[in-house]
Amino acid sequence: MKMSAEYIEAQKNMQPGVISSVGFLGDDKRDLVQIIDEDEQIMSQLGLDFEKVAVWMKKLLDLAVKGLGETVLVDDKWEVNVYEARGFIPCPFKDGIFRKRVIHVKNTHNKTEIDLSELSIHLFEKHHFLQGKGSPFRIDPHMLKKVLE
């Protein structure tokens, strides 16, 4: 995959201070396409399917929101909490705006945890972008695998 004009613009929008204070790339020195390509490979090696995992993420988000801010136990396995802040945040690819809503997911069996924002779920599902290493909302595929186990 090449750094098309769309990706170049998205990468600019991902810098700290453009859309969010901290940005989406963390300390990662790779370009956007490299991050996506390499994470797609890791996801594939781990046997994780973007579409199926996104369905699981959205189910957790939906149930957490229905929990009205309290911890919800999903499938006797995952404890999920939702946190919400005022306002919205746009996707750096400019294909939508999202509530500032974060879910904290804890696998109660193996005690692994991950944070997913409404925007990070969208970036994962639609753009296969898991965010740069060091970004607070990076969805690390290895951690994701453990949380899913």
């Binding site: 453009v18 204070s21 009205l68 309290e70 005022r86 974060v102």
Partner: protein, 371 residues
């Protein structure tokens, strides 16, 4: 080698020349001079043109709330512009509904002030100020909520209505290179004019809450703007049904203690506070004590999932279920009621539905939705 140096020098000179030409041209082309801004048909400001409206207003001491600091990413800084300022920008469109377009609502951070303007803003914004304060105390009220006390330095006093919020400016820290602004409701009472209290719940990955929980130190200087918001008590005799969870406690605490201080104790108040287990509950003793002193005040904490070892003997269930049960079985149905809610959009929407199902009309339900 010398050819490389000469080429580099020539390229640098040309770049410098071009930059100078652009700067000079910009000062002529983008010089809009002084512009007038008429606000709410009565207040006129004069300011230098060329900057976004949000910053132009701030430079004149009028602070429109913004959750992203003017980056056009939160959609909070909406104002009504009565003057034609051109078509909507692509950066505004995701945040503006069709109805808002008809009214001339724009994102003030995206509109450059190039000519005289007429705008409308909520009246309260004319009274909001920028405050310098000292962090007097940071106290854990639960494992993930901190109570922050800010002692005002300049100005030294604040006037606000119980229920309103301020925008805290968090300084750059760690990897965050610029100021982050976030809104927090005031939990203290308006009579305490020289300091304010805020309740701040840690949000995973949250820029401002991470700072408050892990970086903020006692005695450090901090800035905030405010007060903002239209969440306050309506002066009626109606029974007040208040519902909150987590840091949604803040404005409700301010409202209830303000009423008590003012001696407005003939009004009946029911306060439902939802939490998962005992470790998520706080100010329990404070409200129980108030209940002893104020016969018309009823505090109903409810746990959705109390632990066995906690020996909880209070209400159990989601706060909406407990609210529904009380409205049906315990609270006098014939008395007029008003709803006061603070929390996430999901919680507020669910509570509105319960209240409507129990005969409280939607226009009598007031809320501070984190959205």
């Amino acid at each position: 080698m010398s050819a490389v140096l000469i080429t580099t020098l020539i390229v640098s000179l040309i770049s410098a020349l071009l930059a100078a030409v652009i700067t000079v041209t910009d000062s002529f082309v983008n010089n809009y001079g002084t512009v007038k801004i008429l606000i709410n048909k009565r207040k006129i400001l004069q300011a230098k043109g060329g900057s976004p409206l949000l910053f132009t207003l701030a430079s004149q001491g009028i602070f429109v709330p913004s959750a992203c600091g003017g980056r056009g990413s939160c959609g909070v800084c909406k104002v009504k512009i009565l003057t034609d300022v051109g078509p909507y920008l692509p950066t505004e469109l995701p945040y503006i509904s069709k109805e808002q377009m008809k009214e001339g609502i724009r994102l003030s951070c995206q509109i450059k002030v190039k000519k005289d303007l007429e705008i409308e803003i909520p009246e309260e914004l004319l009274f909001a100020k920028k405050f310098k304060a000292t962090v007097e105390k940071i106290r854990d009220v639960t494992y993930d909520i901190k109570e922050l006390t800010l002692k005002l330095v300049d100005p030294q006093v604040i006037d606000f209505r119980a229920g309103q919020y301020v925008q805290l400016s968090v300084p750059p820290y760690d990897k965050i290179k610029e100021i982050t602004q976030r809104a927090y409701s005031i939990s203290s009472v308006p009579s305490q004019k020289d300091r304010i209290e805020l309740l701040i719940r840690l949000v995973p990955g949250g820029a401002a809450t991470t700072y408050v929980h892990y970086y903020m130190k006692q005695n450090e200087q901090i800035e905030f703007t405010g007060p903002f918001g239209e969440f306050y008590v309506r002066e009626t005799d109606a029974m007040m049904i208040c519902v909150a969870g987590g840091s949604g406690m803040a404005p409700i605490k301010s409202i209830i203690f303000d009423l008590y201080e003012k001696g407005i104790t003939d009004r009946e108040i029911w306060y439902f506070f939802g939490a998962r287990s005992l470790r998520d509950l706080f100010y329990l003793d404070l409200f129980k004590e108030l209940e002893q002193k104020w016969s018309n005040f009823h505090f109903i904490p409810a746990l959705s999932n109390p632990l066995a070892e906690e020996n909880w003997d209070g209400e159990v269930g989601l706060i909406t279920d407990v609210l529904n049960r009380y409205l049906k079985e315990r609270i006098e149905p014939s008395k007029p009621k008003e709803g006061y809610l603070c929390g996430s959009p999901g919680m507020i929407n669910a509570c509105i539905q319960v209240m409507k199902n129990n005969g409280i009309s939607e226009e009598k339900i007031y809320y501070d939705k984190f959205a």
